[in-house]
């Protein structure tokens, strides 16, 4: 499928936590937003604008009050949430003068906010403090955060993802995946414990992705190498995607934390005919033990990278899905370019 992918590591003088491709207007500049920090220097958390192919020096940067924990990009807005519980929105052109921030505190989040996603008009934020907020434009350059739920510490959220303008999914520690419907009074309408490996009853959900054309299917990555899909039409039967929970002989692609999952538009499903209805589309994942791979239902996983250090985050370029950028634990970022031949065949 992906013939001769080329990979290049770029060492940087700071630790990169999260990475996202930014929409670029010109074809020459490939822009990346990187959430970075350097623990040896106080107040060194930043959002950097890096450019490829030479990301060594940031083109622009925005200081953040604490370590960034979530980063998402919509076509027009770039949003970052921090470990203290604040949210920062800026235009995706990285105009640092027009940043809008919501400070952390009793009115918003206290503690890390790891669930963050844009659903057209509104942003959803879900924090480890168990609170879920919807943030929308309040007019005249202000934003309004509306509390949807306060778990009062009974739940801690780690991930959030919109399915449509009325539905979104959240996930966290111990609570599995939850499906929220705004039309039914902003309430949880379905819940799934998930499938966890190594004889563990419950795990932490780290990442959720929902395919834009199949809004009833969530794919979930979590602790102990768990990757599963949850189809709302059969909410009681999550579908295992990693080796975990399949059959005894299947070797799991990884046994450590799966930090991020994303549907991979570049990889074609091996079975195109049946792909129309029930099949889960190919999913890319990255993990603590340094694996970047593509997993597919009932298929052998395709390993793209096996790094000696953790891959904390990755992003597939929406404009050019053969390119993947990933944040490596050892203060560097990696850029993976998959073969162009397969692109032409699509």
């Amino acid at each position: 499928m992906a013939d001769s992918p080329s990979f290049r590591r770029h060492p940087l003088p700071f630790s990169v936590d999260l990475l996202r491709w930014l929409p670029s207007s010109t074809s020459s500049a490939r822009l990346i937003a990187a959430a970075v920090h350097d623990p040896t220097i106080p107040a060194s958390s930043h959002l950097h604008l890096l450019s490829l192919p030479d990301p060594a020096s940031p083109l622009a940067s925005l200081p953040l009050p604490s370590r960034p924990t979530a980063l998402r990009c919509s076509p027009s807005v770039l949003a970052a949430a921090t470990s203290s519980g604040s949210l920062h929105l800026l235009p995706s052109s990285f105009d640092t003068d027009s940043v809008i921030s919501i400070p952390s505190g009793a009115g918003f989040h206290v503690g890390p906010v790891r669930g963050l996603d844009c659903g057209g008009e509104e942003w959803v934020t879900a924090g480890e403090d168990g609170r879920v907020h919807l943030v929308s434009d309040g007019g005249d350059g202000r934003v309004v955060a509306r509390r949807v739920c306060d778990g009062k510490g009974m739940l801690g959220y780690e991930a959030a993802r919109w399915a449509s303008s009325a539905e979104f999914a959240t996930g966290g520690a111990g609570c599995g995946v939850q499906w929220w419907d705004r039309r039914k009074g902003d309430a949880v309408v379905a819940q799934c414990k998930g499938i966890w490996g190594r004889g563990v009853a419950a795990g932490i959900v780290h990442s959720i992705d929902i395919h834009p054309s199949r809004k009833h299917i969530c794919v979930v990555g979590g602790s102990s190498g768990a990757i599963f899909a949850w189809d709302l039409r059969w909410p009681q039967q999550p579908i295992p995607l990693s080796g975990v929970g399949l059959h005894e002989t299947a070797e799991p692609i990884c046994e450590s934390e799966v930090w991020e999952v994303l549907f991979d538009n570049y990889t074609q499903s091996s079975d195109i005919i049946s792909a129309a209805s029930t099949r889960i589309l190919p999913v890319m994942m990255c993990s603590e033990d340094g694996i970047l791979a593509i997993v597919e239902q009932d298929e052998r996983p395709l390993e793209l990278l096996a790094e000696p250090c953790a891959i904390n985050s990755f992003d597939i370029d929406p404009q050019n899905p053969s390119d993947v950028v990933c944040a490596l634990e050892w203060e560097s970022i990696g850029v993976l370019t998959r073969g162009r031949d397969a692109m032409a065949a699509e």
Binding site: P13, E128, G151, G153, M154, A173, E331
Partner: protein, 722 residues
């Protein structure tokens, strides 16, 4: 040592050692702790890395003041003794540290594999030894590549023809030292042309030899600056000095290039300086055809390669013959330019190995040393001969500014691995020592024994383990590199594992992701009890900070029965207290979270039934639908019938239902059910007299109000009964 930023705070004077006449003033760090004086107590303890935690407790009685605070002081001071850190900044050093982990781990696993194979065969085969040497060479090359600057300068499109020294990446002493060790200890392929290898090394790193005394490199770069303003180069003595210096250390390409600057090459002068030009060209040709005892030459370097000794001797004698023939030639008389004549003759003398001219041409003893290999003793082999020669050169050109590289070379030539190790420690820091030990012991039995022998005065550690532990400590002290310390600790058999456990337990647990990363390391090194402990600590932390869900999650992952039971116990104690809706939600959430894990507390079933009862009771009281009320009563009867329901909850349960029993026009309970409840009430009244009866927080009239409600219900039920 402790001073408040306000100025009027606590100052603890530092008393120096009275035996010393003048103790140096201690470094003072102001700390902003914000605690109003007087401060009654100060606690100081090490946190992770270079962080010092200072806790200040106020002695004041004012309630509105800050009673105490904990501040973290970062004591990170750059280790000035290591020369490496002046050349390589911290981020670059960390890049080297990260990059060397896979190479180091691979070499360790290969060593273990070989040891296992040897144990199976009960002998050391020769091929194994050879194999090992190949592995170490591969390791050395990988790390050497890492030490080269990653962003090497892009090749210039148009090369300046007047450039003497090639522009290339800035050499670092760390890489120079690494290559030196590789040349002498590992690379067996090159042993027969070791002198030439040393000449190459000098060409790369000559600029690093000394900062105070001059070098050939200095001479040439000074001349390069002067060159732009020079009209007639051959009149300048520095031109000839530079030429002889470059030739003496064997930079033939530089010499030939420089000779072409000579004025006689200029077209307008060709006619009247023909002989002069012929002599310059003849010298240039001789320089470029110098025989060299080596397998190949990199592109751009000059000389003719000879791989075998007889070939070389033949070529050498022929070449020397040509040199001396030119020296005695009659053309010199026709050469009108005095400086050219003297300069060229000097070059010929250098090529003929005139020791006086060589000594004059070179600046540093190492350069003189290299020139000996080139022109006087091309067959020098063996450490003893080299060492002897080095001593002679040092006597001729004593050096004062020691750069570490010369010390290292001295140690190598005197066959003294202890000195080599000490130089590495002193000048290049713990990274270098830890990684270079593999090179030292690759093919040197003495060094092998010296490094691996367990020493009782080190508590049974070997020198190798000691240095690895030191390096691991350095890595652990930085919050970005601590994750690679386990690789080195796990290669230490004696104390590595113990320190690894301490390292893992000391990691901060505030951030869930950080905890997961630490747990991953525990899994990798199969430290299950450590991971259980970390989960428990994380659980307590989150529980204490109100994130009960996360807390319970960690307790469950740790299978911490004790704490889960305690939580379940707390849930029991809440029962019967009149709980507000909001609190009940929280209580309900906790029961939900605990799930099946509170089974051992004996009351899981009860808690779930109680929750169902309470839920439907609320519905019944709000909605007043007959359905919900009937449901509630059913739950109540089930609870009262069930033997697992503790007696102390009977009265609270009944008391909760009083409002429901009273408000309905038609009786909810039939006669049998009411009798059951009355019997339970009776039992309770009897039990009250026993000494072990525990009272609950209900009002004193609770019992009588329940009795009244039940009695009236019974009366109505009897009337209803057909």
């Amino acid at each position: 040592m402790l001073a408040d930023s306000g100025g009027g705070g606590a100052i603890v004077p530092f008393s120096g050692d009275p035996n010393h006449a003048a103790p140096p003033p201690p470094p003072v760090r102001p700390i902003r702790h914000g605690v109003a004086p007087p401060i009654s107590r100060v606690f100081v303890s090490w946190s992770s890395g270079n962080l010092l935690q200072v806790a200040c407790l106020s002695g004041g009685r004012g309630a509105e003041e800050v009673a105490g605070s904990v501040v973290e002081v970062n004591l990170a001071v750059a280790n000035g003794s290591a020369e490496v850190e002046q050349e390589i900044d911290e981020a670059e050093m960390r890049r080297i540290e990260y990059g060397s982990v896979p190479a180091f781990a691979l070499l360790q696993s290969r060593r273990n594999a070989l040891a296992d194979a040897a144990a199976m065969q009960h002998m050391h085969s020769v091929s194994e030894r050879a194999e090992w040497w190949q592995y170490v060479l591969q390791y050395s090359k990988t790390i050497g590549k890492l030490l080269g600057s990653p962003d090497s300068l892009p090749g210039l499109m148009i090369e300046d023809p007047r450039a003497i020294l090639k522009v290339r990446e800035r050499p670092t002493s760390l890489k120079a030292a690494w290559e030196l060790l590789e040349i002498f200890y590992v690379d067996k392929n090159l042993h027969s042309w070791l002198p030439e290898r040393l000449v190459d090394w000098l060409a790369d790193y000559d600029s690093l030899l000394t900062k105070t005394d001059g070098t050939v490199y200095c001479k040439l770069s000074d001349f390069q600056k002067k060159l732009i303003n020079l009209q007639v180069v051959e009149n300048d003595p520095d031109y000839w000095n530079g030429l002889s210096a470059a030739l003496s250390v064997g930079w033939l390409d530089v010499v030939v290039n420089m000779l072409r600057f000579h004025g006689s090459y200029q077209l307008d002068q060709m006619d009247n300086r023909e002989t002069e030009n012929g002599l310059v060209e003849a010298v240039a040709v001789l320089v470029s055809t110098m025989p060299r005892m080596r397998p190949d030459l990199p592109t751009g370097k000059l000389g003719q390669c000879c791989t075998s000794r007889p070939d070389f001797i033949k070529a050498w004698e022929k070449w020397r013959g040509q040199v001396s023939k030119l020296e005695c030639s009659a053309f010199w008389i026709q050469c009108g330019h005095q400086k050219t004549r003297d300069g060229l003759k000097n070059l010929l003398h250098i090529m003929m190995g005139n020791i006086k001219d060589l000594t004059a041409a070179t600046s540093h003893w190492l350069e003189l040393f290299a020139s000996h290999f080139l022109y006087i003793r091309p067959f020098t082999v063996g450490f003893e001969g080299m060492h002897h020669l080095a001593q002679k050169c040092i006597q001729l050109k004593p050096s004062f500014g020691n750069s570490g590289l010369t010390g290292l070379l001295n140690g190598i030539l005197s066959e003294n691995p202890e000195v080599v190790l000490a130089e590495c420690t002193k000048k290049f820091g713990p990274w270098m020592v830890t990684h270079s030990m593999e090179l030292l012991a690759a093919d040197n039995e003495y060094a092998d024994i010296m490094l691996h022998e367990e020493r009782p005065n080190f508590g049974g550690l070997s020198i190798e383990e000691l240095h690895r532990l030191v390096y691991a400590q350095v890595l652990s002290s930085h919050s970005l590199t601590w994750q690679i310390a386990p690789t080195y600790l796990s290669s230490c058999l004696n104390q590595g594992l113990g320190l690894l456990e301490i390292l893992l337990l000391k990691q901060p647990i505030q951030d869930n992701r950080q905890v997961l990363k630490t747990l991953e390391l525990c899994r990798l090194y199969e430290l299950e009890n450590v991971s259980t402990n970390i989960m428990k600590i994380a659980g307590i932390y989150h529980w204490k900070h109100g994130r009960k869900g996360t807390g319970v999650y960690w307790f469950q992952q740790a299978h911490d029965k004790v704490r889960l039971d305690r939580i379940a116990q707390q849930l029991f104690e809440r029962i019967g207290k009149s709980v507000a809706d909001d609190n009940f939600k929280q209580w309900e959430g906790l029961v939900e979270l605990l799930g099946s894990d509170i089974g051992s507390a004996g009351g899981l079933e009860f808690l779930h039934r109680y929750r169902d009862f309470k839920r439907s009771l609320q519905q019944a009281l709000e909605g007043r639908t007959g359905e919900a009320a009937r449901q509630t009563v059913e739950f109540l009867i089930q609870l009262m019938r069930n033997p697992s329901t503790p007696q102390r909850f009977w009265l609270p349960l009944l008391h909760d239902s009083v409002r429901l029993l009273n408000c309905k026009p038609c009786p909810l309970l039939n006669v049998a059910e009411t009798t059951l409840l009355l019997n339970k009430l009776q039992e309770l009244s009897m039990a009250k007299l026993r000494p072990d009866f525990c009272t609950n927080h209900l009002p004193s009239h609770a019992l009588s109000s329940v009795r009244l409600a039940l009695a009236s219900n019974l009366a109505r039920a009897i009337l209803e009964e057909p």
